[in-house]
């Protein structure tokens, strides 16, 4: 390495060093990132170990021998498929409802007044501030009063209610960016205001709808608190089911890892595919475009 002469400022040397070191930074970051997600990899690897290895007093990171025993036990031990089905149905229907109601309302607001849009920004923020448990307590009383305890309908209602303000807020942003000329052109072509919305506005705002849908679905799919509180046997969801593998003697830890992986791996792969939408939804509000 050449000696820096007096004419070149210290920063330039640092800068050059920095560029040379970019590869090293890349390597270090890659190692750190892999270390960071190693807990998840460990769970995935454990799920394909023989059941007894999962509760070995001397655990190893990599499996010594592969086995699907944990997955078989998982299915035998509880009606896990039914719980997954409940999760999927409640999450899907509540997502469709929330996104549809949200898009309708957002369209009305964005074409009506931008001030009302701001109210929804505030409302969404407020809903985010309210602890889930604070909504869960009165929700439990209401659902109980309606005789809907342990039904999928109870969960669908709850998830939709929590997701609607978020969907409205997200969609207002999208609709505001669609020029009003779009609506007008559609109206000239013979659409009324509703068909213009369905045929013209919704198709161009598909990216927004997708982002809203992903987040609504994830909230419902990942929910544990409401499902724990509002269901017992019939409408029990996957999260509550999986948590029941945790017993006092830890003997079901193997099948538990299998259930945790079955529950999270498809979602993770899906989320990598739709990463673009997730990133735009998560940085929304924090970073101005």
């Amino acid at each position: 390495m050449s000696q820096p002469n007096a004419g070149i400022s210290n920063e330039n040397t640092l800068g050059r060093l920095f560029k040379k070191n970019k590869t090293i930074i890349g390597l270090i970051t890659t190692v750190l990132a892999l270390l960071f997600i190693s807990p998840y990899i460990y769970i995935v690897l454990t799920s394909i170990k023989p059941s007894s290895d999962a509760i070995s007093p001397s655990p190893t990171f990599f499996p010594r021998e592969l086995s699907l025993e944990n997955y078989v036990t998982m299915f035998n031990q509880m009606p896990i498929a039914k719980y997954f089905f409940n999760s999927f149905i409640t999450a899907s229907i509540s997502t469709i409802l929330a996104v549809f109601l949200g898009a309708l309302a957002a369209y009305g607001l964005s074409r009506f007044s931008s001030k009302t849009g701001n109210i929804f920004l505030l409302l969404t923020l407020c809903v985010r501030m309210v602890p889930m448990i604070s909504i869960a307590i009165p929700m439990y009383i209401i659902i109980n009063g309606m005789g809907l305890i342990d039904t999928r309908v109870a969960l669908i209602i709850t998830y939709t209610a929590i997701n609607v303000p978020f969907a409205i807020w997200l969609m207002i942003g999208f609709f505001n960016n669609i020029p009003k000329e779009f609506d007008e052109a559609a109206r000239i072509d013979g659409c009324n205001i509703f068909t213009a919305f369905i045929k013209v506005i919704l198709p161009v705002s598909l990216p927004g709808l997708a982002t809203a849908a992903i987040f609504c679905f994830m909230l419902a799919w990942n929910d544990f608190l409401f499902a724990l509180l509002l269901t017992s046997t019939n409408a029990k969801t996957a999260t509550v089911g999986i948590s029941e593998f945790l017993t006092a003697y830890n003997l079901d830890l193997g099948p538990m890892t299998a259930a945790a992986v079955s529950f999270s791996l498809p979602v993770m792969i899906f989320s990598i595919i739709v990463q673009r939408y997730i990133v735009s939804g998560m940085t929304l509000g924090a970073v101005k475009e």
Partner: protein, 293 residues
């Protein structure tokens, strides 16, 4: 009213009615219930008791301890997440070859359910079979395989839940801060370069101040989420041993389901909402001031 605005109301009405019935009504009911003594089994309307639920909650030592635990959880978890998230964001922002792939790897935990995170750490921190204790022993940090009873020692239970939270949400912090870093105008760096600022000076006087508004929003979002934590704590410790890791959400859940005290749990829930709103308005004011600058 014009025809246009009437139509707008039709569009808004379905969502509006839904929120009214299933969002605003519950919150109103919560506030009402907080002033009543209610028997869950009798299903009656209960008797009005004024502020006594609130007084009982605030006076109870357990509520104070739980609030303190929640505060510790929030401060420690969000603090670490901010530092770690910034660290990873800065590394990724150097745009080395393949940074896109590394970013994807880092984002993987982003969509994992808090419940699953709890399960992962419950497994790894297990007293008998956990790999964390084994690694600590293998690296000679602890003297025995069972040196730390992560989940059943009062000194470590809350820390264990915090570790799980940090692991789950550092990627979120990283993602938002990275977006913030990429949003900083290049001209700022160029002028710092002309002024002869070195890397550290540029970081302190250009990067950090420009990133500040984004940081406040990220910290606000995370503070609120961390304060509401339920799943991770429930799965890891259920608030135990002897309430050492009890946070507000788990305590309220128990008050409602195990002790059936609707009035008292409602009063605590109202206090909780007020606390969170107070904290968030503090952040929002700070952000407003930062934006004005």
């Amino acid at each position: 009213m014009t025809k246009e605005s009437r139509v707008s109301i039709y569009f808004f009405a379905p969502a509006g009615i839904f929120m009214l019935v299933f969002l605003f009504f519950p919150v109103a009911l919560l506030v009402r219930d907080s002033f009543f003594e209610i028997d869950m089994i009798a299903q009656g309307r209960g008797t009005f008791v004024g502020l006594s639920n609130y007084i009982e909650a605030i006076r109870s030592e357990r509520f104070i301890d739980t609030t303190t635990n929640t505060l510790i959880y929030v401060v420690v978890a969000v603090g670490f997440e901010l530092v770690l998230g910034l660290f990873f964001a800065l590394l990724l922002n150097t745009a080395f070859k393949g940074h896109g792939i590394v970013r994807t790897i880092m984002l993987a935990p982003l969509m994992i359910a808090p419940l699953v995170t709890g399960l992962i750490w419950r497994f790894m921190l297990n007293n008998q079979f956990g790999i964390v204790n084994k690694l600590l022993y293998d690296f000679n940090i602890t003297s025995s395989r069972h040196a730390i009873q992560w989940l059943s020692d009062e000194r470590f239970a809350l820390l264990s839940t915090i570790i799980a939270d940090i692991w789950l949400t550092t990627p979120f912090m990283m993602l938002v801060l990275l977006a913030g870093l990429q949003g900083i105008s290049k001209t700022l760096y160029e002028s710092a370069d002309i002024d002869g600022a070195n890397k550290i000076q540029t970081f302190l006087y250009v990067t950090l101040p420009s990133l500040f508004p984004v940081m406040i929003v990220a910290v606000l979002i995370r503070t609120v989420d961390a304060a509401r934590t339920f799943d991770i704590v429930w799965v890891l410790t259920q608030g135990g041993p002897s309430n050492s890791s009890e946070v507000l959400s788990t305590y309220m859940y128990k008050t409602l389901t195990r002790y059936g005290q609707v009035g008292e749990s409602s009063a605590m829930a109202v206090i909780f909402i007020i606390l969170l709103l107070a904290i968030s308005s503090y952040f929002l004011i700070a952000m407003f001031k930062a934006n004005k600058k």
